[in-house]
Structures are given as C-alpha cells and as structure tokens.
Symmetry: C2
Subunit: 186 residues, 2 copies
C-alpha cells in the first residue's frame, strides 16, 4: 500500500484547501499569496512538486476543466484516501512537543477541523493546547528568572516574550472553548 512517508505541512495545507474547494495549482498559489495561509509558503517550486507528490500517492485527483480548451486548468479534488489522510491528521490530539515546537501546525490543524472533528474532540484539542501552553509558559518563566541580568536584560526579555506568547495562546484556546460550548447545537 505504499510507503507511509509523513506528509509535509505544505502538503497538508494543500489537502485542506482543496477539501474546502477543489481548485487548480494556480488558485492555490493565489491563496498563499493573498491570505495568511501564505506563511506555509506558496513558491511554485514547492507547490507544484507537492501537488505531484499528493497525486502520486493517490490523495488528490485531477480533472481537466475544458471550458477554455486551449488553456486547460487542472482542477484538483480530494480522493477518499486524501480525505482520510487529512481527517487522520486533523483529529490527532496535540502533544506537548507540538504545542511547544509546532504551534503553527496545530493552528492549521484547528483551522481545517470543520466537518472533520466533533465538537467534543475540538474542545479536547483546545483544552490540551491551553494546558500545555500554560505549562510551557511556566517553564519559560523559570528560565527567564534564571538568566535575569540587569546589565544585559535582553536574553531574559526575549524569553519573557515567549512566556507572554504561550500565555496568549492559552487564553485564546480557553476563549475558543467557550465559543464552542456556548453555541447550542443547531
């Protein structure tokens, strides 16, 4: 059934975007260029090879849009295997290491949850994110205290920004939880 290589962040971003709306490589690149998802880079030398890899692995399929027969557009959509791979990733619960070292990946995962993750699962996800973020913030706060130096406060200050950043994430996650819990099911 093919080597189970890990999908890159870019590949996962592409899967998620294609799931929201089947589209061409060009469309995808435009999204990277014009929206905050562009952090995950949309250079042509990255996007097109990534799309090829996804197609080779059978996670996406292309159908040619022939409305302009001389300028064919390859429109990609998810295959069932692609949908499954995306869902598997999206529904993974965050680990401590991901919270600490890969927060952007977690945010991407969260953004792609609609339709793939139950409300309960989403809330659990956010809860772990909040708790582990606070925990790491506390760790960083200890480090900041250890390296405090009145003459050269830069290092300690830099770590303090880390503290604030993780606390901000924790606060955000708790607000998001409220948002999901206060909404009664429709």
């Amino acid at each position: 059934m093919g080597r189970r290589r890990r999908l890159t962040l870019l590949e996962l971003a592409l899967l998620g975007l294609i799931r929201l709306q089947p589209q061409s490589g060009y469309d995808l690149r435009k999204q990277f260029a014009t929206t905050p998802i562009g952090r995950f880079s949309g250079s042509p030398g990255a996007v097109y090879p990534a799309l090829k890899r996804l197609r080779t692995r059978g996670l996406i399929a292309a159908s040619v849009d022939a409305t302009h027969p001389l300028r064919p557009r390859e429109v990609f959509r998810l295959t069932p295997a692609g949908e499954a791979a995306l869902a598997e990733w999206v529904t993974r619960q965050p680990t401590r290491d991901e919270v600490v070292y890969a927060p952007e990946e977690l945010l991407l995962r969260f953004a792609f949850m609609p339709g793939l993750s139950s409300r309960k699962h989403t809330v659990d996800f956010l809860q772990i994110l909040a708790d582990e973020s606070d925990r790491y913030a506390a760790e960083l706060a200890r480090v900041a205290d250890e390296i405090a130096d009145d003459r050269a406060p830069h290092g300690s200050l830099a770590v303090r920004l880390g503290v604030e950043s993780y606390r901000t994430r924790a606060r955000w996650a708790r607000q998001a939880i409220n948002r999901f819990q206060s909404r009664s099911r429709t």
Copy 2:
C-alpha cells in the same frame, strides 16, 4: 573577498553563542538541547556543517584545548570578521516583512544585542517592532472579520490568534522600551 552568501539563522545563532562564550561544537549542541534557543535546531548534521562553513568563511577560528591530549576539544571563537558580521546583522533595523514573517529571527537578533547595539538603536528597533506588529494585527483583524462564519468559526478564530499574538508582541516591545528608558545610564 568571497561570495557574500546570506548567513542562515542557525549560523547566526552559533555566532551569537560563540561570542558570548567561546566553546566547542559539543557545548553548543548541549545549549540547543537544554535551552529555548533549541528552536533553531541543534542536530549534529546541521551544527557541524554550519560550524565548518563559518570557519571556511573566516568568521570563527578554532583553537585546540589540549588539557586532555587524547581527547582534543575544538574551541571556537569569533574572528574580527565574525564579530563584524554578527554586529552588522544585529544592528539591522527590522523591516515590515521580518516583523510579519520572521519574528523569531528578530527575537534572536534582539537577544544578541548586548555590547553590539546602542541603547538608542535598541529602542528604535523595539519601536519599529511594536508599530509594525500592531499594524499587522490590524490587518489580520480585518481578515478575521471578512471570513467570519458562525457555522465554522475555526478559520476566523485561527486568524484571531494571530491578531492576539502580534498585539502581545507589540505590548512586550513597549514594555521593553520602558525598561531601557527607565534605567538611567550607570
């Protein structure tokens, strides 16, 4: 005078650490493994080649510590050219794109400022960081509003975390400015 290739973040981190304390590749790797600077990755396959590149470019020099003659340690220190390269980078003022897309690099730059950047320059640096962070937060806030969707609030919420993160950075920068300004010169 040698091609002026751009230094990687890892190379700059190594320069900064070596400047603080001349040390061996192993020592450096230990710091990556045990302190928050580890974000910039300290895998052997990255660190040793990076050190070799820095040596080739004449930015660091090695002297052998022969206290244990059978187990020599190569201790690296900055050359004048290395100090100059580090100082050039550290004293660069942040650009909008760096604030938005490379905040970690800016933080590293800030952390290595002691002894390389005047107080005035440091404050200017933080001021730009604060202003551009707030500006981008406002941009993101507009995006969040545009994509607001009661049924699937995930995307909008994810962008909101971006808003909060950049605001946090701006707030932190302003506090840091106060810190530098309230300290009378000693």
